[in-house]
Chain length 331, copies 2
């Protein structure tokens, strides 16, 4: 049997919002499968914001990247038998040939049994999207019952799930979304508050919805919205950066987006006060003392003599005039 695949090519470089002429539809006659391969026919394909920026790493003319639910039509791989439905990163194409053995990350897999639920959930709540919400929220935000959670892009694929898991975990959940229809839906599925960021003052609305401040912020959008939310974080708040959609349509050169680095490199930034470790205080002193005595830790002091010179010592220290610890000896 000969299959002719349709495939969408990334034909012209994105500039700003994606447009139809960035894409070009082509056809490809599928070759015969070889040992270890299977051929699958797409049933549902995923479109996700990450595609807008990830495709930039590929040359013009590449097939658009993305995941799909597909049914195996021919197989020479025992784990992917004919008839099985699989999830795979096959790109924007109607037929794909895959050798799972050669794939190191994001391997294809046969869909688990969803019971009566639609298979399309395999690219949604029961796939990468649902797992982004499940792991990203629970492992990075570590929400506790009674805490306040804010989700940006809340009516999007990942955001709505995060909010619902927040409710399951006993949190107060506030969603930010871009239309009243979206906000109404968020309230229907259990969000305590939904804020339309296009028509309201987010800072003010957030202050009303969460006068106690925000413990967990699950961020899909980055940019200005996130700057506003971050100002209302409580002590020891946790921010999970899942994406920075609000910046994706900008040119990589024009737009500085430090938060994109946080996502792509999975960075952690943490502020701290030393007084968090009050109960281990003398452990710290004893260890540093030991290191000094062993010769592994040097100390240096910039000593200003005379209590009357304290302001001077302070002024000089603020200018970087000291090396090591700046101290004042009383007499």
């Amino acid at each position: 049997m000969v299959y002719t695949a349709k495939k969408w090519i990334y034909a012209r470089a994105f500039g700003g919002e994606p447009k139809l002429d960035n894409f070009c539809l082509e056809e490809e006659i599928m070759p015969d499968i070889r040992e270890g391969e299977f051929l699958a026919k797409a049933e549902y394909l995923s479109v996700d914001p990450y595609m807008r920026i990830y495709i930039l790493s590929y040359p013009i003319g590449s097939v658009m990247i993305g995941g799909q639910i597909a049914q195996v039509l021919e197989s020479k791989h025992p784990e992917f038998p004919v008839g099985a439905y699989v999830f795979g990163q096959f790109g924007w194409r109607t037929y794909a040939i895959c050798n799972p053995t050669g794939i190191a990350t994001r391997k294809p897999y046969v869909l688990p049994d969803f019971g009566v639920l639609p298979r399309s959930l395999g690219i949604g709540t029961l796939g990468t999207v649902g797992n982004s919400a499940y792991f990203g929220f629970l492992e990075v935000c570590r929400p506790k019952s009674g805490e306040t959670v804010v989700v940006s892009g809340a009516a999007g694929a990942v955001g709505n799930i995060v909010g619902q898991i927040g409710k399951i975990k006993g949190c107060k959940v506030i969603g930010l979304a871009g239309s009243d229809v979206k906000c109404r839906w968020l309230e229907e599925i259990g969000f305590d508050y939904a804020i339309n960021y296009k028509t309201t003052d987010i800072g003010e609305e957030l202050l009303k919805a969460a006068p106690e401040g925000v413990d967990c912020y699950f961020d899909n959008v980055g940019g200005e919205i996130s700057a506003i939310v971050k100002k209302q974080m409580r002590h020891f708040g946790r921010i999970a950066c899942c994406g920075t959609i609000s910046m994706y349509n900008g040119s990589p050169i024009q737009v500085e987006d430090p938060q994109r680095d946080f996502v792509s490199k999975q960075l952690v930034q943490e502020g701290f006060s030393v007084h968090r470790w009050t109960d281990r205080w003398f452990e710290g002193i004893e260890q540093n003392l030991k290191w000094i005595n062993e010769g592994n830790l040097k100390y240096r002091e910039t000593i200003t003599e005379g209590f009357e010179n304290m302001p001077l010592a302070f002024i000089e220290m603020m200018k970087g005039g000291n090396i090591g610890k700046a101290i004042v000896a009383v007499e």
Copy 2:
């Protein structure tokens, strides 16, 4: 015995760099101590960058805040006997009366035995400063042997200790400091590289010193220097925000300093990719499936029919046209 304390008053509000006329020296005759109190005479006083911003929360006319090493001269508290040397947050004053019982945080304590080492270390490497390095670096950065560590404000009180602990832990350590004299000292005490941020291109020098990128960034300064370092972080890098000294002399209204919030509120920001949890993938799917079946997790899809409409579905999704997961059904 009557003691007359000298004390430095925060007399005029800071604007930009601290100047001598921000301070005013006053005297105070110390009253008799009461039950539970002790009176101590300052020997060494600490001057630290945090004072520049923390004093802003106090009214003009307050005694400047800060820690000191002091000797107990009179005591009605059994844990602080006459003759003992203590560390306490007594402010910029030569004599202080303290009732330790009434202090909830940052309680005074009798200095541990430093052996032959100078007592002044009690406000340096063997006090708050050393503990900021010890706990902040080890607990927040979690350095591993062989990793690359960058420290800003490296010749300062905390920074030089962080770098040395980095060496003790088997890391490659790079320090940023503001003069060649400071840089030379950093190399003397074991830093692998020291970069003078005032005379070189930090980004370029860092690329030479750490072509493999930065695993741990211990940040004392914030601002532009930190923006440059953060661009050279490696995957799963950790950034410990100890202070934002470079911004302290700015007016709180003029200068946006989101990182100061990270320090004062001890926030955590973490980027993630869901593929970090590949080995727990089906746990996520099974849990979400369970929640759907229990009625606790709703799903919604925005389905576009027809493979030929994929670009359109993508374009609409990027504009926020979808609610829930955007998917394309092939036929």
